[in-house]
Symmetry: C2
Subunit: 348 residues, 2 copies
DNA sequence: TCCTCGATGGAAAGCGCTTTCTATCGCAGA
DNA sequence: TCTGCGATAGAAAGCGCTTTCCATCGAGGA
């Protein structure tokens, strides 16, 4: 029925061992033999049995990329970059063809753990966790334990945009400098003269949410400006829309609103427009991430750029083992303020 | 070192066979025994060896979802929906925990084939191909052959947003009604009085591009209106930006531009704005897909809505086998015209 | 000319699980 | 009390590959 290694061996008049060696290319095989084997493979249209191979070799070519929301370009861009890096890495070396797959956790801790277990089952070669995580102690512990087991079993673990597990200095980690980015953004607003700034935050208990909020507050504190209203919501446009109403209700004299990210900012803009408020004339708006559509908003969004593509590539290479993690703990991915039309001086 | 089935069996004082049966739940095991086994599993923190299991059972729990561009929400939304459906399907049944993974082909035929092979290696339970495909005869043949082999090996194949392979009536297929959607869109423009309509098309040789263009032309032909300029480009914002310059150069009196999709439309809008043209006062703009950000464009984009989420869910269920494909060939997913502010009557 | 070593190829022992095929046990029917 | 059957559990044979020994064959070196 299905063609096996043995069939190929028989056709090429060699032993199964030789076929295996030709396919894996990690053992000297005479050129003529190799060619004969490859021809047989071709003629029989043979495809290696992955499970059998993984079982015998005790490794697999699967690389898992866990993301919080695959429908969000923030993750899409990083995942795409990582997948690209993993693909080209494979092309570079001889037989290391890796299957990079992305798994969508939907931000659910349970699904995250499930995927991690499934990946562990598959004896994945590497796992990349992208994006902030829930700050629930229980989940953190469970995740840390899972990652430790994975690492122990030989799976390379890479954290990308998620703080490193405390006490575990040896898994590669890329952390986004959300704090500094957020701080610069608020400083920019402060510099323009804003003193009443609302904040449309992301979901509670998420590292990304917390870090951005901390940066925001740090800027405020440093400038001696009192903190304005803050409301929390999901990382989507509707949350931004709703947050705006709430923010304005709490302080009708707001002159600026900082959003958890660009998507939320879009919702904020929509809400403002619907109330007949001008951006940035009446209220300035700022986002975060600098996703592709941000420049197309009207007015274009002031935001903080994160080198998502670059981070994804780096994560992919770390996962492939083609690049080594930096020696001194987690690497910081810098954030860069991008000023556009959605922020301006407050009226008055 | 690593815990195996045998270890669990020893601890629970049963045979490996029994442990396997408890884990797979497809054979009667006395409640007391089952409990003892489960406790042992828990105590030893046992995780099934996927490759071994797949090898012995000749099946795996992997479901591959191939998309053209994971950074594009068009695919992100569908993939997310499919993954959700596959996850919940697993929760519903007893042990059918499936690992839905998305693979990013980047629109490259070669990568598509590579992923298909890799999935075939893994003896994937199902494969979902999302989005239009390249219309190169050679690639079509190769893909069809690959899919046939997969199906033959027991992998369920689902096409979502891609035309069915000719001559293969038995793989499940969901086809988007791009033609009708595009036609309605252009009819809408025609109804508003537009007679000089430019078209910013997607990449050549792609089914999606062709179908949308055909619908557009059909509307034009039916109305006896001559076709305006058409330029092709990628499915991204920059392509739209550049296409606009070209379109306007070819016909400075254009009163409307139809874009291949919403992302391209955003680029068109940006280009128009940069030239000081009003939308829709000077030029009307229309997109396709109705991605989430379309409503946030200013003015909000007139577009054609495709039920991406629903299609993704359906594809996921077909892949799981929890829903049967419709009997009479491929299912058509309807497109719906959504009129918003970016289209209006031409001046004069 | 004999021996040693490098280059190749084969034999065979698993990798950890699933799944027949059997064996056992207890109880209902006769 | 004996037979038979349903319900469980175990034994053992692989699933298709990788990889560690070994065996073989020439070609130099002594």
């Amino acid at each position: 029925m299905t063609v096996t290694l043995a069939d190929v061996a028989a056709r090429a008049r060699v032993s199964p061992a030789t076929v295996s060696r030709v396919l894996n290319g990690n053992y000297p095989v005479a050129a003529s033999t190799r060619e004969r084997v490859l021809r047989a493979v071709d003629e029989l249209d043979y495809v290696l049995n992955g499970p059998a191979s993984s079982l015998a070799a005790a490794t697999s070519d699967l690389v898992g990329v866990l993301v919080n929301d695959i429908a969000d370009p923030f993750f899409g861009i990083m995942a795409s970059a990582a997948q690209g890096a993993i693909g080209e890495g494979a092309a570079g070396r001889g037989g290391g063809e890796k299957l990079a797959v992305v798994c969508n956790t939907g931000g659910s801790p349970a699904r995250e753990l499930t995927y991690l277990t499934l990946l562990q089952r598959q004896r994945a070669a590497a796992v990349i966790l992208m994006g902030g995580s829930l700050e629930d102690p229980e989940h953190l512990t469970a995740t840390a334990a899972k990652l430790a087991r994975l690492a122990e079993a030989g799976t390379r673990v890479v954290l990308c945009g998620r703080p490193p597990v405390p006490g575990d200095a040896n898994t590669a980690a890329l952390v986004f400098d959300n704090r500094t980015g957020a701080r610069q953004l608020t400083e920019h607003l402060l510099g323009l003269g804003h003193r009443r700034i609302g904040y449309a935050a992301g979901p509670a208990d998420r590292t990304t949410t917390r870090h951005r909020l901390e940066g925001h507050r740090a800027a405020l504190t440093a400038a001696g400006v009192p903190e304005g209203p803050t409301v929390r919501g999901a990382y989507d446009r509707q949350a931004g829309y709703e947050a705006t109403a709430e923010l304005l209700a709490r302080d009708p004299d707001l002159t600026a609103i900082v959003a958890a990210n660009d998507t939320v900012a879009l919702g904020v803009c929509a809400a403002l427009r619907d109330r007949g408020l001008d951006i940035p004339g009446d209220v300035s708006v700022a986002g975060f991430d600098d996703l592709p559509f941000s420049v197309d908003a009207v007015p274009a969004l002031t935001t903080v750029r994160l080198p998502l593509h670059g981070a994804g590539v780096r994560a992919g290479r770390l996962a492939m083992g083609t690049e080594e993690p930096s020696a001194g703990g987690p690497e910081t991915v810098p954030a860069e303020l991008v000023v556009r039309g959605s922020t301006g001086r407050p009226r008055g």
